[in-house]
Amino acid sequence: MADRQPTERPQPADRTRPADRTRTNSGPGRLLIAVYLLFAIAATSRAGLQIATRFEAAPMAYLLSAFAAAVYIVAAVGLGRAGRTGRLIALACCTVELVGVVGVGAVSQARPELFPDETVWSGFGSGYGYIPLVLPVLGLLWLWRTRHDLDLAAASRPRPSRVAPDQSFGPPAT
């Protein structure tokens, strides 16, 4: 009894968990990618138009729009790829977004003269229904919830190891 319990308990947990664990780029993650794509399109076209037609009016605001657009695109790609690199990219993008939207929101409230024209992040994203403020938080929460995704990915498709299979040195490849 004493040694049967510890062997029995972990098994069902290990068997069922990978099935109901969701990958970073599927399930709610795919919805997140869709919203990121929408924002990438919106911010890119807006920034492109502003820079092409009236760049002199507010260069800083428009460059910021372009930067935000780039972050949205890279975040969507990172979430979509969802490997180790993709998740790191998505993590960096969500962090930059959160800092950007809070920072720009605060600065645009305190010193409105710095931002003569609207950007995606002005007023904490109020021009876009505050979604720019919520989106990075959701992204970070989702990355946290799927933090075990990599173990699962490694188990289902093992990485080709760089060393030849007959050379067995160093830590065991997982």
Binding site: S26, G27, P28, R30, L31, I33, A34, V35, L37, L38, I41, A42, S45, R46, G48, L49, A52, T53
Partner: protein
């Protein structure tokens, strides 16, 4: 410049107006509602959602063609750059929803359809604002 376009607008020849805009908006909201029900019932995107997206896309293409004909007839939007940006985005939205929903045959696929169908009316209203002078 604004006066000239205002007089052409006043002539009542707005191509992006009336039924032409109301039908896609209503369709889009209908599909969004249906997709929301599917999401809440844990249902993957069904045939009705894909059919709805197809009909919505058809309505948007009709709108685009009518607009292009109006442009050929000499009418001009007030902000051409934004107008064509919104128009291109608008036409791409239902196919985007279609592709993503096909990739995600779970309730979250329905959630994607719902989200994009809620965004479509917003883009359409913005499109109208770039033609008329409502947006200032």
């Amino acid at each position: 410049m604004t006066e000239a376009s205002a007089t052409t607008s006043a002539a009542g020849d707005l191509p992006v107006d009336g039924l032409l805009a109301a039908v896609p908006i209503a369709l889009s909201l209908l599909v969004a509602g249906w997709a929301l029900v599917a999401t809440l019932r844990h249902r993957a995107p069904d045939r009705a959602q894909f059919a709805g997206l197809a009909v919505l896309e058809a309505a948007l293409l009709v709108l685009t063609v009518v607009t292009l004909i109006a442009l050929g007839g000499g009418q001009r939007p007030d902000e051409p750059g934004s107008f064509f940006g919104y128009l291109a985005t608008l036409v791409c939205l239902p196919p985007l929803a279609w592709v993503l929903a096909r990739m995600e045959p779970t309730r979250w696929g329905s959630a994607i359809v719902c989200t994009i169908c809620l965004v479509t009316p917003v883009v359409l209203v913005r499109l109208q604002q770039t033609w008329t002078v409502l947006g200032g």
